[in-house]
Amino acid sequence: MIELEELTKFNIKEGITLHYLRADKFKTNVIGILIRNELTKENATKNAVLAQVLKKSCDKYPTSYELVRRTEEMFGSVFNVSVLKKGEEQILFFYMEVLANSKVFEEGLEFLREIISKPLIKENGFDKETVEREKENLRQKIRARSDDKKEYAKLRCIEETCSNEAFGVYGDGYEEDIDSIDCNNLYDHYIDMLKHSPIEIMVCGTQSYNTENIIKKMFIQDRQNIINLKPTISEKRNNEKNEVKEKMDILQGKLCMSFRSSSESKGKGFFGMLVFNEILGAGSNSRLFNNVREKESLCYYVNSFMYRYKMILVIQAGIEDKNYDKTVKIILDEIESLKSNLVTEKEIENAKINLSRYYNGIEDYQSGIMDFYLNEYLIGSCENIKSFIEKINKVNVEDVRKAAESISVDTVYFLSGK
């Protein structure tokens, strides 16, 4: 069990913190380097292209082929660069997983140092061919967004819900912003980030005595005027529900509804919401599953989940177009009912069992552990997995009712057939 005492933090440089999560049971060490940026429409696409460019090559391994071979040589190490959306931050995320053997781990850290501090540069910019190819790859990826209809409906729902907020910005950018990116302005943007963005480094596994030293060498820029990122806040709007309908060549309609909560993203209110969400729509014994699917046969899938950073609850369902009004009404009625009536002891017990199993299971995966601690850190909550589960188990039926009371519908998005 990972206890809070096992999590230690070191200050590497101005605005760069190393979080060490000691875990001796794994065969590998995982290192995550997170360069944190504000999520803005202006920079979202640039950051997405940047991640792709940095993943393909560096000065020491100038072709993708050489880079892959180097990771194979390091006993099949896993390496990736991507962008993460955490609330209203867009994070440039470097991931490396290496055998826990100290020698190989240090080789892995050195590899990351090459990637981060010595990218492939030509005349004060990134390699033009790489940038152009990755711009094109991103364009294809963005166009393919609408291939997964269920996912697309969810993205559109959030875009509509948060049209005036940073959270509504797409985590991997916009096609219309691709052309203005070039190898020079992208490089300048990266250097800027290395100088001013807050950086978190997370290591999960067994420590090597040289870890700190190698990490210090990854960041050679002078660090000053570190950007102060504002924490993501949730806000409840007391507006009329916003209805958005779109059409596509599909057979099954995709419904996506968003609800704002006035509960905080940590503390008692949050845990109440977590259990409420579980009862409402997280499993095959949930209210939504039983009432919308089993009783009414309205859908093949229906579920709910939360965006914790914004405390937005989302309900998704795949339904026939003709059942739109009926389904929306049943869902809203269900929530109304949960505002005034208490859930049963059996329901709350089952929800707690499911949540406990899920959170207990996280400790068996380094990426799960890292993500858990990252969320706690960014949100400013201080739980470890044990105390998190304890707080879940303290939630009572009145807390669940209060959670239901805290939410109000924001946007109803429906993607239907032509």
């Binding site: 194979e72 014994n285 068996d364 380094q366």
Partner: protein, 417 residues
């Protein structure tokens, strides 16, 4: 009981053949919150025609999978719910040569383990529930029919095999499952769900003696003897070298299949072929670099090797705008490598990669359990596999490439718009 240890992996394994004849593997993982148990029977979609009680029986395609669905139903209700109420996540799958039932949980392992072992020994089939299941399985079959990644494989298998049942859809067809009735289910259950045909794998923070004791107590000895599956003769040649199918798909999908001699395929050969495929067409191979630069593929190919009784095939798969040209490049590369052999540095590097990835697999309770059940039904274990990888020789792989990868026994299956 056999206790095996591997120092390089820093892991231990406990193996015991129980009094009922079932074989049990336990891999303790100290400090892990989740535990997983799998009970598998050496009975899969291939076992269609068999000899039981001296008589030949021809079952409809897809029975093993059908049986897997129905076994969860008991007279008193559905076993899934019982697992769920007791904090466990249960599931099952059927493949060519086995049916596996499993659960994972973070508490109440003994209770759930008992539940698992009991329900697979309690068949309960009725006319009504069998009929009802046909609709559900029918939908599942349709879902696979709609899936290009399933179609491309089975089209390849149908092009590869004249007679062997491996080319049949695992779930059968709507037509074949229409012929399933409760008597068929009971007949197949009695013929194959015998303790001697059962392998159990448990992984997690467990006490082996306790788990063995529980398994020995709950798995009852029976008079059942596993039926003998009957296979028709299968030549080493393929029916067709090229198969094409049209579906709603943005980028063409291909499977380049190699028909391999199914005799004497032990754990060393299985892992040898996996390493060989990576050497030929993996993400760090010269072939892939050429294919990528030529714009034929933009993602590394999928590599797979599958073998069982009477069948063995390797697949190099991917998306390409010109599958025929990509296939030609791959076949040319194989022809050249057969003559020149592999470079020493490439072999050493890929061997290291596979050693590292194998060790990494031991991070995950699920990965360990699933890999061990795959080997366990053939009486092999993960430590045998690891030893085979560590002892792999370049000359052995070159020998396999020369002898087994015959350019006449190749099927290119393509699914395109």
């Amino acid at each position: 009981m056999v206790i095996k240890k591997n120092d390089m992996l820093n892991e231990g394994m406990y193996i015991k053949t129980l009094s009922s004849g079932a074989k049990c593997y336990i891999i303790p993982k100290s400090g892990y919150g989740e535990a997983q148990a799998i009970a598998a029977f050496n009975y899969g979609s291939n076992d269609i025609d068999f000899l039981a009680d001296g008589k030949e029986f021809n079952s409809p395609d897809g029975v093993a999978h059908f049986l897997e669905h129905k076994l969860f139903e008991e007279e008193w209700g559905n076993v899934f719910e019982e697992f769920s109420k007791n904090g466990a996540n249960a599931n099952a799958f059927t493949d060519f040569n086995k049916t596996a039932y499993y659960f994972s949980c973070t508490e109440k392992f003994e209770e759930n383990f008992e539940r698992l072992l009991k329900f697979v020994q309690s068949p309960y089939f009725t006319e009504e529930s069998t009929e009802r299941e046909k609709g559900i399985i029918g939908q599942e079959i349709t879902m696979y029919d709609d899936d290009p990644s399933w179609q491309v494989v089975f089209n390849m298998l149908r092009g590869m095999y004249f007679n062997h049942t491996v080319s049949k859809n695992i779930a059968g067809s709507i037509k074949s499952i229409a012929d399933v009735d409760k008597d068929t289910l009971y007949k197949c259950y009695k013929s194959f769900y015998c303790p001697e045909n059962m392998t159990v794998v448990c992984v997690g923070d467990l006490k082996p003696e306790k788990v063995f004791e529980e398994a020995d107590r709950i798995i009852k000895k029976t008079n059942c003897k596993r039926a003998k599956t009957i296979y028709e003769n299968e030549p080493s040649t393929v029916c067709k070298n090229y198969v094409e199918s049209k579906m709603e798909i943005s980028k063409s999908l291909f499977n380049l299949g190699f028909k391999i001699n199914p005799k004497d395929i032990n754990v060393k050969k299985v892992y040898g072929i996996k390493i060989l495929l990576d050497l030929v067409a993996g993400s760090g191979s010269a072939l892939y670099e050429r294919i990528y630069k030529a714009g034929l593929m933009d993602e590394e190919p999928g590599l797979q090797f599958t073998a069982g009784e009477g069948y063995a095939f390797a697949i190099i798969a991917g998306n390409s705008n010109d599958s025929k040209k990509t296939a030609d490049e791959i076949i040319n590369e194989i022809t050249i490598l057969k003559k020149l052999g592999f470079k020493e540095e490439d072999f050493e590097r890929i061997k290291k990669k596979h050693i590292g990835r194998f060790i990494r697999g031991f991070n995950s309770v699920d990965a360990i359990a699933m890999s061990q059940i795959e080997l366990g039904v053939k009486g092999e274990d993960l430590f045998d596999a690891f030893q085979a990888i560590c002892g792999m020789k370049k000359t052995y792989l070159e020998e396999i490439l020369r002898d087994e990868f015959n350019t006449d026994s190749i099927v290119l299956s393509v699914v395109k718009q």
